[in-house]
């Protein structure tokens, strides 16, 4: 029998993403339900119902990375949306009107599925979509956790919303297909099991970066992230991360670093905040050319949604307790742990014009983490998708000065 050549995880990821978008477009063409969802929403319910879902944030990131964001942003601003609004939202509002992108098309939604654990802009952004498109809106309201841990009442509140969403999905599906559609609780359990397994595999793969040197160049993490956003509930997603993990482990075992042989990982840093998608190349090279490897970020944990199978309240807690929705002290402790576990020398903070939630506490977070860990930090201005809010020269100067500080600290440690 002929042996099929083993695909690399990168090829598998490309196939996974192509398939994700194509199957949603096909579903729409076949008259099946399609949802637009926020990036860390309880997809388990949609997956159980067999509803195709696409993630406008993921599409906006792709549009940004392929340098196509400006036309959608211009269109939105022309319609009256403020430049101070999140640029993912402006890209999405533009796409909602123009419906055509060179980078990545998505089908128009039949309903909206929005979860406020990632930020509170999404509440109004997605509500606006539902209103403009005149389609149903399912909202998961997850209040910000001002306490260190998720309180029981918050988890119960979310649990109630999950139960309500199941009923809404049944109603929406029944109406759409003209026949009674029921939520399958056995299938739900299987989906929960798969979602946990895929989350864990994603986490395990990203943790291989703890090796020194790290076999992972963190800008690859930004690519693989598309897979966890869109395929957290699928076996195919699991397989991609498993293959990725095996590749990284093999590299680590061979003592290989993130780049080509001979390109030394001199310093290890983490990235705080969303990527600067329109300037991935500039932000990457600015670090790499100085031997600085971005080993990890807060992304790996954000999609590590783990809970006991069948435990809806546990699931509610997991969605509520993600980094973005946690208080300052919790955030500082998480990053401090990352600094220690990944043996980091420093942190790059992206002061992201779009992201009010992350910027709100960033300065204080930077100050506290620096005090706790003693690592060097640098902050630069940018935006997740708006290309007008970043200057390569300013970025490079900050990164070079950051490098000089890292070198100083290393030299001082060496001298004792």
């Amino acid at each position: 029998m002929e042996q099929k050549e083993k695909l690399s995880s990168k090829q598998m990821l490309n196939d996974l993403m192509a398939d994700h978008y194509q199957s949603a477009l096909d579903a729409k063409a076949d008259g099946k339900l399609v949802a637009w969802a926020t990036s860390i929403a309880p997809q388990e319910l949609l997956t159980t119902m067999g509803i195709n879902v696409v993630y406008p944030e993921n599409q906006a990131a792709a549009i940004g990375a392929r340098k196509e964001a400006q036309k959608f942003i211009d269109h939105s601003e022309g319609r009256g949306y403020s430049v101070d609004l999140c640029s993912y939202a402006r890209v999405n509002f533009g796409y909602q009107q123009l419906k055509k992108s060179e980078s990545q098309d998505i089908p128009m939604p039949d309903f909206i599925y929005s979860c406020s654990n990632i930020c509170h802009t999404v509440l109004k952004w997605y509500e606006n979509l539902a209103k403009e498109l005149n389609i149903p809106l399912i909202i998961f309201d997850l209040p910000f956790n001002h306490t260190y841990d998720v309180q029981d009442h918050a988890a119960k509140y979310m649990k109630g919303q999950i139960e309500e969403a199941i009923k809404r999905l049944e109603t929406i599906s029944t109406k759409h297909y003209g026949k009674k559609v029921e939520f399958d609780h056995d299938k739900f359990k299987a989906v929960m099991e798969q979602s946990n397994a895929t989350s864990q595999m994603w986490k395990d793969a990203t943790m291989v970066a703890k090796a020194k040197p790290s076999p992972l160049n963190g800008f690859d993490l930004f690519n693989y992230m598309a897979g966890i956003v869109t395929n957290r509930g699928t076996k195919a997603g699991y397989e991609v991360f498993k293959a990725w993990k095996e590749e990284l482990e093999a590299k680590a075992a061979a003592g290989l670093g993130p780049w080509k042989p001979g390109e030394e990982e001199k310093f290890r840093v983490m990235w705080d905040g969303i990527a600067c998608w329109p300037y991935l190349g500039s932000t990457y090279k600015g670090l790499k050319n100085n031997g600085i490897n971005m080993v990890t970020s807060t992304y790996p944990d954000s999609w590590t949604i783990l809970y006991d199978n069948g435990d809806i309240e546990g699931m509610a807690k997991a969605y509520s307790g993600i980094y973005c929705n946690s208080n300052l002290q919790n955030g500082v402790d998480r990053i401090t742990r990352i600094v220690n576990e990944y043996s980091l020398d420093g942190i790059v903070f992206h002061s992201n014009r779009s992201c009010k939630l992350l910027d709100f506490r960033q300065f204080e977070q930077q100050r506290q983490i620096e005090e706790k860990t003693g690592v060097a930090t640098v902050l630069f201005d940018g935006d997740q998708t708006d290309p007008r809010a970043f200057s390569t020269e300013q970025y490079n100067t900050r990164i070079q000065a950051f490098l000089e500080t890292l070198e100083n600290k290393k030299e001082e440690r060496r001298k004792g």
Binding site: R353, R367, D381, E393, T397, Q400, A401, E404, N408, E412
Partner: protein, 259 residues
């Protein structure tokens, strides 16, 4: 032996030459920056004043925004490190440096060894930078160097509330149209720029001795304003505009000795 430091900023070019014993032989500055013949002019002037030629320089370090396009240096080092180096040499015990440059403002924290421990730079825009004062000087129809003297004649405190340089420009024009005295506007501009930069300084944490560098530090009224804002005395580095160039020259010597 001779070591050259060149600091090519957005609005001025500076050069310094030292010998192998860190003696400062010359420091020069001209108010034309990157993209002009400014760097060549200051280097030639510095060489001439010391009485040596270019080929007698043993090592050159370039700094400032123009360092990347300047091809005649042996090494580039950022202005953050160079200001740190220069200040540590000139002002023993310095821990906090406030530098207001043409297109950015920075606050640098030095550790006890005089090395850069941390730094912050202005965000987003020209607010809190020397460019802001340049714009103000233009509206007031005076030279940048005359702003300080003008501000000292201020009798009434006015506030320029816009941090955006372009908005502040229109705000000031309307103030002048309403008859506000030029001196009060000049002092208002000083208050505006220093409050922005003082915010940066407080964020990084202020530890004395606090030193100001950069051309703006020659503006005594700005320095006094800054002292008031941060609540610490400020030492102005001797010949503050050329501190970055001096730091670059010191790095040139250090790098040469390591080789």
């Amino acid at each position: 032996m001779y070591f050259l430091g060149v600091d090519i900023g957005s609005s001025s070019s500076k050069a310094a030459i030292i010998d192998e014993n860190k003696n400062i032989l010359v420091r020069v500055a001209r108010n034309i920056g990157t993209g002009t013949n400014g760097p060549t002019l200051v280097i030639n002037q510095a060489l001439e004043e010391v009485g040596i030629t270019r080929d007698q320089i043993n090592f050159t370090v370039a700094t400032g925004y123009g360092r990347v396009t300047f091809t005649q240096a042996d090494k580039q080092i950022t202005e953050i490190s160079c200001h740190g180096k220069g200040v540590a040499h000139l002002v023993p015990g310095a821990h906090t440096i406030i530098d207001i440059g043409g297109q950015d403002a920075k606050v640098i924290r030095l550790n006890d060894k005089g090395n850069v421990d941390n730094f912050l730079m202005n965000e987003k825009c020209a607010a809190g930078t020397g460019r802001f004062l340049e714009v103000m000087a233009r509206i007031l129809n005076c030279g940048l160097e005359d702003l300080s003297g003008l501000a000292k004649e201020s009798t009434e405190e006015i506030e320029i509330s816009n941090t955006c340089t372009v908005f502040a420009e229109s705000e000031v024009i309307s103030q002048l149209a309403q008859g506000t005295a030029k001196a009060d506007v000049a002092q208002g501009a000083n208050n505006s720029i220093t409050s922005r930069v003082a915010g940066l300084a407080r964020r990084i944490g202020i530890t004395p001795v606090v030193v100001m560098t950069g051309g703006v530090a020659k503006n005594d009224a700005v320095v006094r304003c800054m002292e008031k804002q941060i609540g610490y005395d400020i030492t102005v580095a001797p010949d503050p505009q050329t501190v970055g160039a001096l730091g670059a020259a010191l790095f040139a010597l250090e790098t040469f000795n390591k080789k």
